[in-house]
Symmetry: C2
Subunit: 477 residues, 2 copies
Amino acid sequence: MTATAMNLYDSKAQTLREFVPLKAGEVGMYVCGPTVQGAPHVGHLRSALVYDILRRWLAAKGLRVTLVRNVTDIDDKVLEKASEAGVPWWALAYQFEQEFNAAYRTLGIEAPTYEPRATGHITEMLELVDRLIDAGYAYQATDGSADVYFKASKWASYGELTNQRIEDMVDDAEGQLRGKLDARDFTLWKAAKPNEPVTAQWPTRFGAGRPGWHLECSAMATRYLGARFDIHGGGLDLRFPHHENELAQSRAAGDEFANFWLHNGLVNVGGQKMSKSLGNSTFASDLFTQARPIAARYFLGSAHYRSVLDLHDSALAEAESAISRVEGFLARAERKLGRRDFEGHHDRYQQLPTAFVSAMDEDLNLPAALAALHEAVRAGNAALDAHEDAAAQVELSAVTAMVDVLGLNPNSSVWSVGQGDSAESKALGSLMEALIAERNLARANKDFARSDAIRDQLKAAGIQLEDAADGTNWSIS
Amino acid sequence: MTATAMNLYDSKAQTLREFVPLKAGEVGMYVCGPTVQGAPHVGHLRSALVYDILRRWLAAKGLRVTLVRNVTDIDDKVLEKASEAGVPWWALAYQFEQEFNAAYRTLGIEAPTYEPRATGHITEMLELVDRLIDAGYAYQATDGSADVYFKASKWASYGELTNQRIEDMVDDAEGQLRGKLDARDFTLWKAAKPNEPVTAQWPTRFGAGRPGWHLECSAMATRYLGARFDIHGGGLDLRFPHHENELAQSRAAGDEFANFWLHNGLVNVGGQKMSKSLGNSTFASDLFTQARPIAARYFLGSAHYRSVLDLHDSALAEAESAISRVEGFLARAERKLGRRDFEGHHDRYQQLPTAFVSAMDEDLNLPAALAALHEAVRAGNAALDAHEDAAAQVELSAVTAMVDVLGLNPNSSVWSVGQGDSAESKALGSLMEALIAERNLARANKDFARSDAIRDQLKAAGIQLEDAADGTNWSIS
């Protein structure tokens, strides 16, 4: 059903390329997940969201997507913070892993097909190291420690991802070689340090140690997606050295690795780069006190995925206002025409406006896609105003299909986990029935003072009434 | 602060023993989690809940609990079902892992300190196999396959957990030895079968294969809790052979292993054993359509943990009625006296009635603990009826402390994820303010017909009013 061709910007080729799955009908996608050493911030959330939208779009086009997003559950910071807190490193990592997953759920980011933890793949990593040593591209540290390095200095293609030449990389760390043959070589495996806990050490033929960050992702991506797979994604900050090193070591070991490299832009706060030193980090917990989850999702997916997204003062209010317009139209149209359900992917895809499809197909151009969404909302409201039901139905179908694909359907259970049948919801429903009946009785008795008073009272509580041929509907504004 | 001694029934000793932590102030606890090859049913939920309550009780007594609950993410059934569904085994396992965790969250079961996946611990398992081979208690299959067996026939203590003698175990499978020296020997490591996916095979010096179930738990428990730890828990159905084999292989390798073995009883449905063949399995999804999560939790924790819990026709209605009485008292008392918050564990522990503490300390006697809870509710309601505020305050403190410890506090955010500040909640709040003001005005004007009409209208919607000195409070019944 891949009705239309899609272009994606391949960071490695530095150009738009038509995306053609390596295996017809299927997509294998690896996305770098977080190092779980702290709470999730908006930068993490944006990255996860961007690939969630891409995954939804590929699925909407009829492709079967396998998404693997890892958790890096050990590194210097995890060990350091756990030691400071007096808890085991694996307990600290697991706590933050759960915080990330809770934030993803709140935003309606679908769980990946699999979420591997780095430390669960020691066997696969050591196998990769062995292949690299056999190929002559890895070596144990010359100082006798259990460090193992990748010979970047020998891998002719080193720099191909980020368009750099190894010759241009300055070899200026002569005093800090720590057993390296060349300062540009990078760590595959880290020797255990004397004060590190036993659970942070795995035995190898070089001695006890733990994996280097780059090695993890190469081993996990190919384990679950094969030696060659469609898409590798991650934040722009991971392009170098992380992704460059992943690519070098995988290719040197004989794996073709990713066919497309995608990088999402970072998040600024009030025009400034978000950083610990500036103290301007906005965490998931901050975001969710400032905006409804659906508005936060709208905001995080509102810029082009390759642009910087700026969390400026009015950004969340603008997102709230924009998604409210969509919600308002849907509620109004659904009251009149009923909710639009689709008979599978294909039916839904057919309802998408051409402008939306073209925008999504052209490197996931989200601002253009959202413009198509708002255009349909405008046209739909106009049709409702003019009592043109057929035209309104077309727009209702289009808007529903678009918000479905974008993960922004306000009717989705994602936004109301446990809410729909709460005691409060039921009480409000019963009470509204009674008040509407009372108002109808007052109107029948020409007691307009009373009927208006009820309407005003409801309005003050944020509840709108709409009189229709088949009765009075209510909604919360 | 471990104010009082606690007894636990140790399945191995077959008697109550005083529980004294191996390391003062700390408890290490390993609980067998699910094999994620299907959706969670009430049996799984009860087991997880029982150890959640035990963990909360130990924490309430001032102990620092490390709870490790594993996920068995590979076995014959996982591979079989994934193959049938045409999805990778790891994707199927991860999907069910998430379903389990969602059900646990719904029931307010706290996440363990760590939740290791079996396949993430291949290195540790193979180390354990090596130790057993060195000790003379394990051997590679005599038929040359990569199967590795534990020499149960040689381990003199085999049977110590379940009070059986190895001599009494019939050696009747001569024709099916598959490389075993003795039919009673059990599998540590399973040779890969020809049709199994590459991702389900790990290289070993014996050949490619995957871990046996028993081996997994021994390796994970000792990795995270040490060679000797306080408590090993699990369902009664796991006692033999799973736990017997865990104990045998760990002890044969030189680890002391668990100090206490706890086993929870199973769940019957309408008096019958729950089983696939009877088709009477009640899944988490069934349970949550039949009962509010807090009522489901009450039900699952209402029997003694070692007894069979029977899900009979009126069981959930009885639980709903019982927890509603508790909720009703708390709502009523809190309107009058304010919510009771505690200044830490110690303050809360001090408010617990002696009968409750004694019940919990005597092998977690939950029926007796719940009786103490309902006695305090009864006394509290009587004190409120008699306008004895001081006495009511004592009971409010006691009831709040007890429901906190049991994970049954209706005010906990666990029960209202995303509900508290929903649009419906806010609209209802505003509307109630307006209606209460209107009723007060009517009463001031002696328009009792109107004020009564409002009260009746609210009552019909399930909303109760209670007039107090400081105004009118409302609650949903």
